[in-house]
Protein backbone atom coordinates (compact mmCIF):
# COMPACT_ATOMS: atom_id res chain seq x y z
CA UNK A 1 0.00 0.00 0.00
CA UNK A 2 1.41 3.39 -0.87
CA UNK A 3 2.61 4.91 2.32
CA UNK A 4 1.41 8.36 1.29
CA UNK A 5 -2.22 7.29 1.50
CA UNK A 6 -4.01 8.75 4.48
CA UNK A 7 -4.61 6.03 7.07
CA UNK A 8 -8.39 6.37 6.87
CA UNK A 9 -8.25 6.13 3.09
CA UNK A 10 -5.98 3.13 3.27
CA UNK A 11 -8.42 1.45 5.58
CA UNK A 12 -11.25 2.12 3.17
CA UNK A 13 -9.30 0.64 0.30
CA UNK A 14 -8.66 -2.47 2.37
CA UNK A 15 -12.33 -2.66 3.21
CA UNK A 16 -13.29 -2.39 -0.44
CA UNK A 17 -10.93 -5.20 -1.25
CA UNK A 18 -12.44 -7.26 1.53
CA UNK A 19 -16.02 -6.78 0.37
CA UNK A 20 -15.03 -7.45 -3.22
CA UNK A 21 -13.54 -10.76 -2.14
CA UNK A 22 -16.42 -11.87 0.03
CA UNK A 23 -19.09 -11.03 -2.53
CA UNK A 24 -17.31 -11.74 -5.80
CA UNK A 25 -14.72 -14.37 -5.08
CA UNK A 26 -14.63 -17.56 -3.11
CA UNK A 27 -15.95 -20.99 -3.92
CA UNK A 28 -19.39 -20.93 -5.46
CA UNK A 29 -21.38 -23.69 -3.79
CA UNK A 30 -24.90 -22.41 -4.18
CA UNK A 31 -25.80 -21.82 -7.78
CA UNK A 32 -27.99 -19.00 -6.70
CA UNK A 33 -26.02 -15.87 -6.06
CA UNK A 34 -28.67 -13.22 -6.10
CA UNK A 35 -26.75 -10.25 -4.99
CA UNK A 36 -28.52 -7.51 -6.81
CA UNK A 37 -31.48 -5.49 -5.76
CA UNK A 38 -33.67 -3.96 -8.43
CA UNK A 39 -30.91 -4.53 -11.00
CA UNK A 40 -28.40 -2.53 -9.03
CA UNK A 41 -25.37 -4.56 -8.22
CA UNK A 42 -25.44 -5.05 -4.49
CA UNK A 43 -21.68 -4.98 -4.35
CA UNK A 44 -21.79 -1.32 -5.12
CA UNK A 45 -24.59 -0.59 -2.73
CA UNK A 46 -22.57 -2.43 -0.14
CA UNK A 47 -19.46 -0.47 -0.92
CA UNK A 48 -21.25 2.84 -0.61
CA UNK A 49 -22.69 1.86 2.73
CA UNK A 50 -19.34 0.65 3.89
CA UNK A 51 -17.50 3.74 2.83
CA UNK A 52 -19.89 5.92 4.71
CA UNK A 53 -19.58 4.00 7.91
CA UNK A 54 -16.01 2.93 8.38
CA UNK A 55 -15.78 5.01 11.52
CA UNK A 56 -18.86 3.37 13.02
CA UNK A 57 -17.49 -0.07 12.30
CA UNK A 58 -14.26 0.77 13.98
CA UNK A 59 -16.13 1.80 17.08
CA UNK A 60 -17.80 -1.61 17.07
CA UNK A 61 -14.45 -3.32 16.84
CA UNK A 62 -15.13 -4.89 13.46
CA UNK A 63 -12.11 -6.06 11.50
CA UNK A 64 -12.00 -3.18 9.07
CA UNK A 65 -8.28 -3.46 8.49
CA UNK A 66 -8.01 -7.20 8.04
CA UNK A 67 -4.79 -8.13 6.41
CA UNK A 68 -3.36 -4.67 6.02
CA UNK A 69 0.12 -6.07 5.71
CA UNK A 70 2.06 -3.11 4.37
CA UNK A 71 1.88 -0.72 7.22
Amino acid sequence: MSSDLRPDLRQQVTLLELVDRVLNKGVVLSGDITLSVADVDLVYIGLRVLLSSVATLEEQGMPVAIGDALR
Binding site: M1, L18, R21, K25, V27, V28, I33, G46, P63, L70
Partner: protein, 213 residues
Amino acid sequence: MIHVYGIVDELDSLPPVEGVDGAALERRRVDALELVVSEVPRDEVTQEAVLRHAQVVEALMSRSRAVLPAQFSRPFAGDEELVSAVTAKASDLELRLQRVRGCVELGLRVVAPAPDSGPEAESGAEYLRARLDEERRRSQLVAEVDEPLARLAQETAGGAAGSNVFERAYLVRDEDASTFLDTVRELQAAHPELSLACTGPWPPYSFGAEAAK
Protein backbone atom coordinates in the same frame (compact mmCIF):
# COMPACT_ATOMS: atom_id res chain seq x y z
CA MET B 1 -31.41 -22.11 6.30
CA ILE B 2 -27.71 -22.86 6.24
CA HIS B 3 -24.96 -20.34 5.57
CA VAL B 4 -21.57 -21.71 4.50
CA TYR B 5 -18.33 -19.95 5.44
CA GLY B 6 -15.88 -22.28 3.84
CA ILE B 7 -14.33 -25.67 3.51
CA VAL B 8 -11.61 -26.44 6.01
CA ASP B 9 -8.75 -28.88 6.20
CA GLU B 10 -7.71 -30.10 9.65
CA LEU B 11 -9.52 -27.47 11.66
CA ASP B 12 -8.30 -27.57 15.29
CA SER B 13 -11.47 -26.34 16.88
CA LEU B 14 -14.15 -23.85 16.02
CA PRO B 15 -13.04 -20.27 16.63
CA PRO B 16 -14.77 -18.40 19.47
CA VAL B 17 -16.60 -16.01 17.15
CA GLU B 18 -20.25 -15.73 16.29
CA GLY B 19 -21.56 -16.41 12.84
CA VAL B 20 -23.95 -14.35 10.74
CA ASP B 21 -26.83 -13.04 12.87
CA GLY B 22 -25.06 -14.13 16.02
CA ALA B 23 -25.59 -17.82 15.27
CA ALA B 24 -23.24 -20.50 16.59
CA LEU B 25 -20.76 -22.00 14.14
CA GLU B 26 -21.05 -25.69 13.36
CA ARG B 27 -18.87 -28.26 11.65
CA ARG B 28 -20.49 -30.32 8.94
CA ARG B 29 -18.90 -33.24 7.13
CA VAL B 30 -19.88 -34.03 3.55
CA ASP B 31 -17.97 -36.93 2.01
CA ALA B 32 -14.32 -36.29 2.76
CA LEU B 33 -14.85 -32.55 3.11
CA GLU B 34 -15.46 -30.56 6.25
CA LEU B 35 -17.49 -27.37 6.12
CA VAL B 36 -18.08 -24.66 8.65
CA VAL B 37 -21.67 -23.45 8.62
CA SER B 38 -24.29 -21.76 10.75
CA GLU B 39 -28.05 -21.62 10.76
CA VAL B 40 -29.44 -18.33 9.49
CA PRO B 41 -33.04 -17.32 9.99
CA ARG B 42 -33.31 -15.27 6.84
CA ASP B 43 -31.90 -14.73 3.44
CA GLU B 44 -30.51 -11.26 3.65
CA VAL B 45 -27.28 -9.62 2.60
CA THR B 46 -26.30 -6.93 5.03
CA GLN B 47 -23.09 -5.13 5.66
CA GLU B 48 -22.94 -6.73 9.08
CA ALA B 49 -23.43 -10.22 7.59
CA VAL B 50 -20.73 -9.72 4.96
CA LEU B 51 -18.20 -8.56 7.51
CA ARG B 52 -19.16 -11.34 9.89
CA HIS B 53 -18.62 -13.88 7.12
CA ALA B 54 -15.17 -12.41 6.47
CA GLN B 55 -14.32 -12.45 10.14
CA VAL B 56 -15.25 -16.13 10.48
CA VAL B 57 -13.19 -17.08 7.42
CA GLU B 58 -10.25 -15.12 8.81
CA ALA B 59 -10.57 -16.91 12.15
CA LEU B 60 -10.72 -20.30 10.41
CA MET B 61 -7.49 -19.50 8.55
CA SER B 62 -5.53 -19.34 11.77
CA ARG B 63 -6.91 -22.65 13.06
CA SER B 64 -6.68 -24.97 10.11
CA ARG B 65 -4.18 -26.19 7.55
CA ALA B 66 -6.18 -24.79 4.69
CA VAL B 67 -9.43 -22.93 4.09
CA LEU B 68 -11.34 -22.58 0.88
CA PRO B 69 -13.57 -19.56 1.56
CA ALA B 70 -17.10 -19.81 0.23
CA GLN B 71 -18.54 -16.91 -1.67
CA PHE B 72 -21.22 -15.10 0.27
CA SER B 73 -24.39 -16.28 -1.40
CA ARG B 74 -27.96 -17.24 -0.78
CA PRO B 75 -28.14 -19.76 2.10
CA PHE B 76 -29.09 -23.38 1.52
CA ALA B 77 -32.65 -24.34 2.36
CA GLY B 78 -31.51 -27.35 4.35
CA ASP B 79 -29.02 -30.15 4.81
CA GLU B 80 -30.17 -32.08 1.80
CA GLU B 81 -29.56 -29.19 -0.57
CA LEU B 82 -26.17 -28.45 0.98
CA VAL B 83 -25.03 -32.06 0.77
CA SER B 84 -26.02 -32.44 -2.84
CA ALA B 85 -24.33 -29.18 -3.86
CA VAL B 86 -21.09 -30.13 -2.16
CA THR B 87 -21.14 -33.77 -3.27
CA ALA B 88 -21.49 -32.69 -6.88
CA LYS B 89 -18.20 -30.80 -6.66
CA ALA B 90 -16.41 -32.85 -4.02
CA SER B 91 -13.38 -34.00 -6.00
CA ASP B 92 -12.80 -30.55 -7.50
CA LEU B 93 -13.08 -28.95 -4.08
CA GLU B 94 -10.58 -31.36 -2.58
CA LEU B 95 -8.13 -30.52 -5.31
CA ARG B 96 -8.50 -26.80 -4.78
CA LEU B 97 -8.16 -27.20 -1.04
CA GLN B 98 -4.84 -28.93 -1.56
CA ARG B 99 -3.63 -26.20 -3.87
CA VAL B 100 -4.19 -23.40 -1.36
CA ARG B 101 -2.66 -25.31 1.54
CA GLY B 102 0.14 -23.35 3.17
CA CYS B 103 -0.60 -20.30 1.05
CA VAL B 104 -2.09 -16.87 1.51
CA GLU B 105 -3.54 -14.52 -1.04
CA LEU B 106 -1.90 -11.15 -1.62
CA GLY B 107 -3.71 -8.54 -3.65
CA LEU B 108 -2.02 -5.98 -5.83
CA ARG B 109 -3.52 -2.95 -7.48
CA VAL B 110 -1.35 -0.89 -9.78
CA VAL B 111 -2.54 2.47 -10.95
CA ALA B 112 -0.60 3.85 -13.89
CA PRO B 113 -0.60 7.56 -14.58
CA ALA B 114 -3.53 8.63 -16.71
CA PRO B 115 -2.45 9.37 -20.27
CA ASP B 116 -1.49 13.01 -20.50
CA SER B 117 -3.39 14.81 -23.18
CA GLY B 118 -0.08 15.72 -24.81
CA PRO B 119 0.38 17.99 -27.77
CA GLU B 120 -2.48 18.19 -30.21
CA ALA B 121 -2.10 15.47 -32.82
CA GLU B 122 -1.64 16.79 -36.30
CA SER B 123 -3.61 14.00 -37.87
CA GLY B 124 -5.77 11.04 -37.00
CA ALA B 125 -2.95 8.62 -37.76
CA GLU B 126 -0.59 10.48 -35.51
CA TYR B 127 -3.16 10.48 -32.73
CA LEU B 128 -3.63 6.74 -33.03
CA ARG B 129 0.11 6.15 -33.04
CA ALA B 130 0.48 8.20 -29.88
CA ARG B 131 -2.31 6.30 -28.19
CA LEU B 132 -0.73 3.01 -29.18
CA ASP B 133 2.66 4.05 -27.82
CA GLU B 134 1.02 5.10 -24.60
CA GLU B 135 -0.75 1.76 -24.36
CA ARG B 136 2.45 -0.16 -24.98
CA ARG B 137 4.35 1.83 -22.39
CA ARG B 138 1.68 1.11 -19.86
CA SER B 139 1.48 -2.61 -20.46
CA GLN B 140 5.25 -2.81 -20.35
CA LEU B 141 5.25 -1.03 -17.00
CA VAL B 142 2.67 -3.45 -15.67
CA ALA B 143 4.66 -6.42 -16.92
CA GLU B 144 7.75 -5.09 -15.16
CA VAL B 145 5.82 -5.06 -11.91
CA ASP B 146 3.85 -8.26 -12.40
CA GLU B 147 6.61 -10.59 -13.55
CA PRO B 148 8.84 -10.55 -10.47
CA LEU B 149 5.78 -10.96 -8.26
CA ALA B 150 4.26 -13.76 -10.33
CA ARG B 151 7.56 -15.62 -10.00
CA LEU B 152 7.08 -15.64 -6.22
CA ALA B 153 3.53 -16.94 -6.52
CA GLN B 154 2.10 -20.44 -6.94
CA GLU B 155 -0.77 -19.06 -9.00
CA THR B 156 -2.21 -15.73 -10.02
CA ALA B 157 -5.77 -14.62 -10.70
CA GLY B 158 -7.21 -11.54 -12.34
CA GLY B 159 -5.58 -8.97 -14.55
CA ALA B 160 -6.31 -5.65 -16.16
CA ALA B 161 -9.24 -3.94 -14.51
CA GLY B 162 -9.33 -0.79 -16.59
CA SER B 163 -7.18 1.16 -18.97
CA ASN B 164 -4.84 2.37 -16.27
CA VAL B 165 -5.62 0.01 -13.43
CA PHE B 166 -4.17 -3.44 -13.04
CA GLU B 167 -5.48 -5.76 -10.34
CA ARG B 168 -4.18 -9.19 -9.60
CA ALA B 169 -4.27 -11.68 -6.77
CA TYR B 170 -1.24 -13.82 -6.05
CA LEU B 171 -1.32 -17.12 -4.21
CA VAL B 172 1.89 -17.07 -2.20
CA ARG B 173 3.34 -19.67 0.15
CA ASP B 174 3.42 -18.48 3.76
CA GLU B 175 7.20 -18.47 3.82
CA ASP B 176 7.39 -16.34 0.65
CA ALA B 177 4.97 -13.66 1.82
CA SER B 178 7.56 -11.36 3.36
CA THR B 179 9.79 -11.60 0.27
CA PHE B 180 6.72 -10.73 -1.79
CA LEU B 181 6.03 -7.63 0.29
CA ASP B 182 9.69 -6.59 0.13
CA THR B 183 9.56 -6.98 -3.63
CA VAL B 184 6.46 -4.78 -3.81
CA ARG B 185 8.32 -2.09 -1.87
CA GLU B 186 11.33 -2.34 -4.17
CA LEU B 187 9.11 -2.15 -7.24
CA GLN B 188 7.35 0.90 -5.86
CA ALA B 189 10.72 2.56 -5.26
CA ALA B 190 11.85 1.66 -8.77
CA HIS B 191 8.63 2.94 -10.34
CA PRO B 192 7.62 6.17 -8.63
CA GLU B 193 5.33 6.93 -11.59
CA LEU B 194 3.11 4.02 -10.60
CA SER B 195 0.97 3.71 -7.53
CA LEU B 196 1.19 0.22 -6.06
CA ALA B 197 -1.27 -0.90 -3.42
CA CYS B 198 -0.75 -4.29 -1.86
CA THR B 199 -3.28 -5.82 0.51
CA GLY B 200 -3.19 -9.01 2.44
CA PRO B 201 -2.50 -11.57 3.56
CA TRP B 202 -6.03 -12.68 2.75
CA PRO B 203 -7.66 -16.07 2.91
CA PRO B 204 -7.43 -17.44 -0.65
CA TYR B 205 -10.74 -16.02 -1.84
CA SER B 206 -9.59 -15.59 -5.42
CA PHE B 207 -8.33 -19.12 -5.82
CA GLY B 208 -11.46 -21.15 -5.29
CA ALA B 209 -12.41 -21.10 -8.94
CA GLU B 210 -11.23 -23.92 -11.14
CA ALA B 211 -10.19 -21.49 -13.85
CA ALA B 212 -7.73 -19.56 -11.68
CA LYS B 213 -4.83 -18.87 -14.00
